[in-house]
Amino acid sequence: MQALLYQSYNSGSDDLRFLARSLDRSEQDIDHLLYSDEEIPHEDSQQIENGEFLSDSFFHMEDVFYSNQWHLSGELGDMEQRVLDRHQGLVEKIDENEQVWKSDDLRFLTKSLNGAEPEDQDISHLLYSDEATPYEDSQQIGSDSFLGDSFFHMEDVFYSDQWYSSGELGNKEQRVPYHQQYLAEEFLNIGYSEPGSDDGLDQESDDPLEFSDFSAAIPSSDSIMPVEVSFSTTSPPVPSPFMEMTRQSREWVLQGLETLVFQILYDLSMGRAPSIDLCCRSKADALVYDEEVGVIRRKPDHAPGTFTRTYRYGNNSASSLHSIVRIIDLIHDNVYKGSISTKRDLFYREVTLFGSQTVIDKAVEDIACTLRVPRSCLNVVAGTRSVVFGSIRLTLKVPGNRNMAGSEDTKPGKTGDGDDSIDKAFTQSEYNMLMAVPSSMDDILRIEIHPQTKFILVIEKEATMNHLISLGICASHGPCILLTSKGYPDMVARQLLKLFSDMIQTGVYAMHLPTEDRGKSASTTIRSQASLNIPILALVDCDPHGIEIFLTYKCGAVLSAYDNANLAVPRLQCIGQIPDDWNSFLRGRDFSQDQGLLLRSSSHVEVQFQDSLSPLTTRERTKLVKLLKRHPFIQRHKGWKRQISKMLMLNRKSELQSLCMEESTTIEEGLQKEKHALVQYLERKLEDCSLWIS
């Protein structure tokens, strides 16, 4: 808004004084425009001087917007330039005969505020947000009435999807009456993703024939707001009971970010303290447990403003409005230029403002949730710590050699050598190579799983994984894939596991991953006849953290509920370690011949194991009780309830490391060296499917 007013006025001000100048030629009844809620004594407006009006008026507010503490306009500084460039680019593409909604509507606004037209009462209708005005008035104002319409209705217009959609309608808007905009066909083509549309992410719609729809709607390169919305041809779209996330194009993301900022400017123009509403991911009533699939999801926003948190200017919380705006600016910058940064990197750009890393983490995820896109669309990644090993081959892009922008990039001077550069720069891993999983799924070009893989094992601790590898588990127990995320899983590990799960379900064992650059046509797959029967198993410690890690992989984390459709793996089963495994150790020597025993226990292993059963701390007990009481998955699965209750009763936890202790005495006795305890344990568990808990 600001930038386009610059176009109109060529004023060089770097803050919001432009608005003052635009109004300075108007008479004192302009104060009616800005003080819709407040009574202002008339003499204040008499003291109007050139360019000072707005500053006077804001002195009546609690906060002084023009003081040096108001960084907001500074934070928006660079963004203006980019918005300007972007709209330059957009304007060029639009037919010159049609009016561009933004600049024209705002030109209209400023023109009318100049008092050039005798439309005072219409102006007040424009700017009074609290007055209900009949619809007919908008027709009188003129064809470029978009902004007038928006300002008619309550500020909910801003939040609701109507705002987004009417923004994206752009040049079509004049021809279509406001209340019919929803149904306009053009509307559907330009970016609004209807809830319930087939975005290829639901497991139900996983049609093997259209494999290229497998990961997300891929933007095509020709239209301006290029997002394809595909409706399933068999039945009309049903509103999904969950919030859907789809990958959107760069343009869409930039548009969304700008809209968030416009909200602030709107507030300012109304003379209110600015605020931003972002989705709050931690509100408990926003979450719903999907029974069929077993995944924690987020409810869609039925009414504007549900499940959101408002960041107001002046609220001195850890994440203030300033931080949010700065983060939006940084993300806008990244998406515009096509560069990817980590969350840490974003933090270091403005350390004193942010204060701590958690501010960034929260804000980025909240923005992703608000815009309904996965976090990767914001070009923010997290440093990855996941590692994969086994009968899998990955083809990765070489970092640093990324294609800088998608094919719809409008920046002049960019050479269009999109397609070739990818093929030249990649690394290929081999089977049984310990690979670090890249920080973003976009870096993976191709995945191949060996069709004779016996199982995929997700391990909690890296130490356990190293132990297993050194014991030669992949050689002795068949080709297998080991994955660890060294604790709580990061997003990429979960996405990767989900990808494995989907591949197995559909019987594909090698595929190219479609990316933005390459589009659908480049994906090829190799598939087997039937679905591959590879179980996905988890090996976690027998403590509250282990159980939570298992649940995060399986149903998704609470804070990432908005994206859990892409992250949760319901097929995951737990093979250990569970409290029932302790039975053999707790029964005593007389029962060592019992079938329930999981190892041929020599006595000192038993003793060592008993020593390694450590008591739970109070925090861990609280966590377990919370899991029992509130976690929807646990509440529905008696087996898990029993295991957790047992852990509470005995007040003990144990780790897989307890099985990793060496048995040195057997060698001295000349006996054949027994298999290592961990291997034995794993073997026993793998053989017997009934011991697994899902």
């Binding site: 707790l586 029964r587 005593g588 020597r589 007389d590 008591p615 109070t618 007990r621 609280t622 009780v625 029992l628 009481k629 008696k638 309830k641 029993r642 209750s645 509470l648 009763m649 007040n651």
Partner: protein, 247 residues
């Protein structure tokens, strides 16, 4: 010669899930608490179910009855204490102790109070009528896993979770609220504790497979018994003060 013990009554599928505690009541009733969130009252003559008391949200980990068999108290994993009226078979009171603050509960001999162990080590005493916390005995910071009143109502003893080398048994004086003596003999967690009827001896069973008998009055340990091959989860003293049963 030890007498032969014969199973007089077996009830299959008494509860839907594991049974974790039982308590006799003097009116020929048996109270059982289970993981399926219920407390059931059985008639000991016939083995019939007298009533099923529901209301707990998580599994029940301990039950106890008072001296005349009119009340029962049960605690569940979420530290809710519920007092039940056994005659009318309905709930009398709920006491919410805080997230992990009530573990096992026992009636005092005069049936006026309930003592519970807690994960912070304190033994809390609640009044049966009002449900308010009456007194709190300061422990040593380790989870007090088991609690027992002495039959004369003067002492409360609790056994604790193990610290690095040993577990303690604490003996408190009810009237003054002070710690009377500490018994440090056990190497591992003390899971159960019982007084003898004359309130002179205290029997404790622990994970280190030993049972120890202490002198409550003088504060020293009398004997240690071994023979179990695994954790000792419960002990009880017979009325004549001669036999101790353990499991």
């Amino acid at each position: 010669m030890p007498a032969q013990f014969v199973t007089s009554l077996t009830k299959d599928n008494a509860h839907e899930d594991g049974i974790w505690s039982v308590a006799w009541s003097s009116k020929n009733a048996l109270v059982t608490g289970s993981l399926d969130n219920t407390v059931k009252v059985w008639d000991t003559e016939s083995g019939e179910l007298k009533g099923s008391l529901t209301g707990h949200q998580l599994g029940v980990n301990s039950v106890d009855t008072n001296a005349d068999g009119t009340w029962a108290v049960s605690t569940s994993l979420d530290s809710q204490i519920r007092i039940w009226d056994l005659e009318q078979l309905k709930q009398h009171k709920i006491i919410d102790a805080g997230a992990v603050q009530a573990w096992t509960a026992k009636f005092s001999p005069d049936s006026k109070h309930i003592a519970t162990g807690s994960s912070s080590g304190n033994v809390n005493q609640y009044s049966v009528e009002t449900g308010e916390k009456v007194q709190s005995f300061e422990g040593r910071g380790k989870f007090s896993m088991c609690v027992a009143y002495s039959p004369n109502g003067e002492y409360i003893a609790c056994g604790t979770e193990a610290s690095s080398d040993s577990a303690t048994v604490l003996l408190f004086d009810v009237a003054t609220g002070k710690l009377r003596s500490t018994f440090k003999g056990h190497a591992m967690t003390v899971r159960s504790i019982a007084f003898s009827d004359d309130s002179k001896k205290l029997v404790t069973g622990s994970d280190d497979k030993r049972i120890m008998i202490h002198d409550a009055v003088h504060g020293d340990t009398i004997r240690t018994l071994s023979g179990h091959s695994a954790w000792v989860l419960s002990v009880a003293v017979s009325n004549d003060g001669i036999h101790v049963a353990s499991g």
